[in-house]
Structure formats: structure tokens, C-alpha cells
Symmetry: C2
Subunit: 127 residues, 2 copies
């Protein structure tokens, strides 16, 4: 694939292999060769433009990247520890057609996540 350099390949693999969506900073910390952060950002933009990865911010104003294959695009986002896990019910598809017709709106994508407290944070019991 054109432009799929070693750096970009490495970053893509990392996103693919990580259970939760990850951000640029986390990627940087995990890379041994420590490329420039701007190169990481450029790589992420490249991968997203190619459609190989997607991103969400979870209202943190930080981009978290994931592979659409692995993640069905629906998350449980813990507002304490920031961890995410995905769930597999895709309600969106069920009603997408209905919404498109009713609102005359061409739907290309959707975002759906629950916010709450994960079981580990619940156990820890911090406020």
C-alpha cells in the first residue's frame, strides 16, 4: 500500500493489537524508537484518511484511535479511569433507515457510547 511506511505500519499494528482505543501520547510511550510526535499525528491522520482506523474523543478532547473491525464502534467509557470496552449490540443499524427517511438525512456513520463507572473503579470506590 502506498505510503504505508514502517512507522505507520507499526502504529497501525499497535492500534490493532490494543484492546481499548488509544491516543497519540500512549502510542509515543510504547514506541521504542521515539519518533517525533508530529510524525505520529501525521501517521494517525494518514491511517484515518485511508479508513484503516477511526477515532473518537469521548469528550476528552483527545483523539482515541481504534480499528473499526475489532471494535463495533459502541463503547462503555469509564469517566473515572478513562478505560473503554466495547459492547456488541448494534441498535443503530436497526433504526438508521427509519431516521434517514423521517429526517431526510444521509447517515454515513454514528457514535454511540455509554458513560459510567467500570467495575474496577466501582470496587475501588473512589468518589
Amino acid at each position: 500500500m502506498k505510503g504505508f511506511t514502517p512507522l505507520r505500519k507499526e502504529i497501525y499494528k499497535m492500534i490493532e493489537d490494543t484492546d481499548s482505543p488509544i491516543n497519540a501520547d500512549t502510542i509515543y510511550k510504547k514506541l521504542d524508537n521515539k519518533p517525533d510526535l508530529s510524525s505520529i499525528y501525521r501517521a494517525l491522520n494518514y491511517l484515518e484518511k485511508k479508513g484503516m482506523v477511526k477515532s473518537l474523543t469521548f469528550d476528552t478532547k483527545i483523539n482515541y484511535y481504534f480499528t473499526p473491525k475489532k471494535h463495533p464502534h459502541h463503547f462503555l467509557y469509564c469517566k473515572k479511569c478513562g478505560k473503554t470496552e466495547s459492547f456488541d449490540v448494534c441498535l443503530a443499524n436497526e433504526i438508521q433507515k427509519k431516521i434517514e427517511d423521517k429526517h431526510n438525512f444521509k447517515i454515513t456513520d454514528h457514535v454511540f457510547y455509554f458513560i459510567g463507572i467500570c467495575k474496577e473503579c466501582m470496587k475501588r470506590g473512589e468518589t
Copy 2:
């Protein structure tokens, strides 16, 4: 209500009266008395902390504010013009309980929106 100053009241009214979620900059432009932007940001944080308004970023990294009463919290977000409208199907509630049990995750809120092209932008036909 304590701390509900004229500025904060005016901003709250504006959010309440506006059809789509709006951001700090839009609020500033609509205010005649042109308060400092930092005061607007402080007002918005105050209102959100009080639970009077909610916000979403729609992956723009900009906070858009709305009243939870008016908006059922589910949006159609046009990625061309940035306008949002809301739809009234709340699928989330239907499956919330199921997800909570299965994942042992305490859900406090959710975010659900479709991304696409609104009918006006469709008509305009820009790429």
C-alpha cells in the same frame, strides 16, 4: 438560585432557546454586551456543573451546549455545515439494563449521534 448571575442567566436562556447545541463563540457573537470569553467559559462550566446544561463535542473538539430537557440527547450531526437536529427514538434506554448486567458497568449517561449530510447540504451538493 445561588450564583445565577445575570450573565449566566442570559447564557442559559440562550442555550434553552436555541434549536441546536451551541458553542462559546456563537454565544459570544449573539451577546450584545460582549462579556469576556473567559466569563462565558466560566458560566458554561457553572451551568454544566449545576446540571442545567449538557455538552457534546461531536468530535470537533469544541463544546456544544444544550438543555437536556429540550434535547433527548440524540443528534443528527451534519459533518458539512455542523448543524445538529435531534431525533426522538431512545434506543439506549431499552438496552441499558442489559448492558449494565452483562458488563457489570454502572451507566450514568450516554452519547448517541448519527453523522451524515443534512438535506440542505445535500441540495447544495458540495463535495
